[in-house]
Symmetry: C2
Subunit: 203 residues, 2 copies
DNA sequence: AATATTCTTGACCGATAGGTCAAGAATATG
DNA sequence: CATATTCTTGACCTATCGGTCAAGAATATT
């Protein structure tokens, strides 16, 4: 019944590569801003293959969201301290201001939050959940920093995490139309100061 | 030649009312997210009238932008001090979190900055200019506050204005997917603290 | 080699996108 | 009242939207 007896014709494309291409297109243009035809062109797959393999446009976007949140970039956290991890991340997204504007595409999750947040769409709650997980990641960094004595235990972790989240949001999204590194650094440092550390990002 | 000899048939609609309806639709749905048919429905005008009166879709959006930035809301600034004006504004946009999500549509200019910022479109530079004017307005408030001795003269007005701008951005845009007033108030107060005032927004 | 199963392909669908235009309706002026 | 001018209307255009489907191509199993 559930045997793998019927492999029949194998798919000719690499699922991970295709997923990446789909994710990158949605990341650059958003959900509404991306057409099925563009997805067909960028993946090289025909429309029928896309639909039979992954489903409709919403399903493709969900694939992109999952891929975006997939197991990546987990290399840094072992070597660096939590506060260094945070500062490093902020520095990294500040440096996106140097990219040509077509590549300053912000954060896929935050872009999606802005696009879907105040609409009724099947993916809205999923996006909001993923965003909350991001915020919780910041919270874990803050709490670890407290444990290590890098910041005061009097800091409210949840509030600080929310401000970290807002700081990242501001940097990544305002970068689209105000890509000034001194400005973005000031935003980041204003947050770092608010959690009582002397650590700063350079400019 | 340039006489008003030919009034001929007068238009049957009120230009200001129509402009408001156009602005509100674009504000709610964005440029790409608004169709000409929806503009036809909401204005009550037929497509031909819209085009002959105002021009194409970009021109209609420009009309909306101008209307959004038009002479309104200039009542408060005379009575209140600059810092009170600022805090009042922050309080006002924080309270948008109480609205139903379909009405939490952010700021038209900032929405447009996000939608157009990293694209090539004829309106991109205009939008960025209008956003800069907003920032300059914050700057004038900060400088006035310094003159009145409400905040220290050591504060960098331009940097503080940029942070005020970023604070407003964060509140208005994150409100779409994270409409938590405690959170938004904390963002606002974190800014107020950064300019060295004891004034705070309530929650 | 025959068959069952899956993958791929391209034509096709109705709906909607932004935009045009000619003809008719309404009015201020001569 | 006739006319010039403007406004309004609805039909129409091409392009693209998301989505479907039947037929053909490729493979693992019998």
């Amino acid at each position: 019944m559930f045997d793998l007896v019927a492999m029949a014709r194998p798919r000719e494309f690499d699922c991970e590569i295709v997923s990446d291409k789909i994710m990158n297109l949605f990341w650059a243009n958003g959900f509404e801003g991306t057409s099925m035809d563009e997805l067909v062109n960028v993946t090289g797959l025909k429309k029928g293959s896309l639909y039979s393999s992954f489903g409709n446009k919403s399903r493709l976007f969900e694939l992109a969201l999952n891929r975006y949140c997939g197991p990546k970039n987990k290399k840094t956290s072992e070597i660096l301290s939590p506060l260094e991890t945070l500062a490093d991340f902020l520095t990294k997204i500040i440096n996106e201001a140097d990219l040509p504007k077509s590549k300053r595409r912000g954060c896929l999750l935050m872009n999606s939050g802005l696009e879907f947040g105040n609409r009724d769409h099947e993916l809205t709650s999923k996006i909001i959940d993923l965003l909350k997980m991001r915020e919780q990641y910041f919270c874990s960094l803050i709490e670890e920093a407290k444990i290590r004595g890098e910041i005061s235990k009097k800091i409210n972790s949840q509030k600080a995490a929310a401000r970290a989240f807002a700081t990242a949001f501001t940097i990544r999204e305002m970068c689209k139309f105000k890509p000034e590194k001194e400005f973005l650094s000031d935003i980041a440092n204003s947050f770092l100061e608010s959690i009582g550390t002397n650590k700063r990002v350079g400019l």
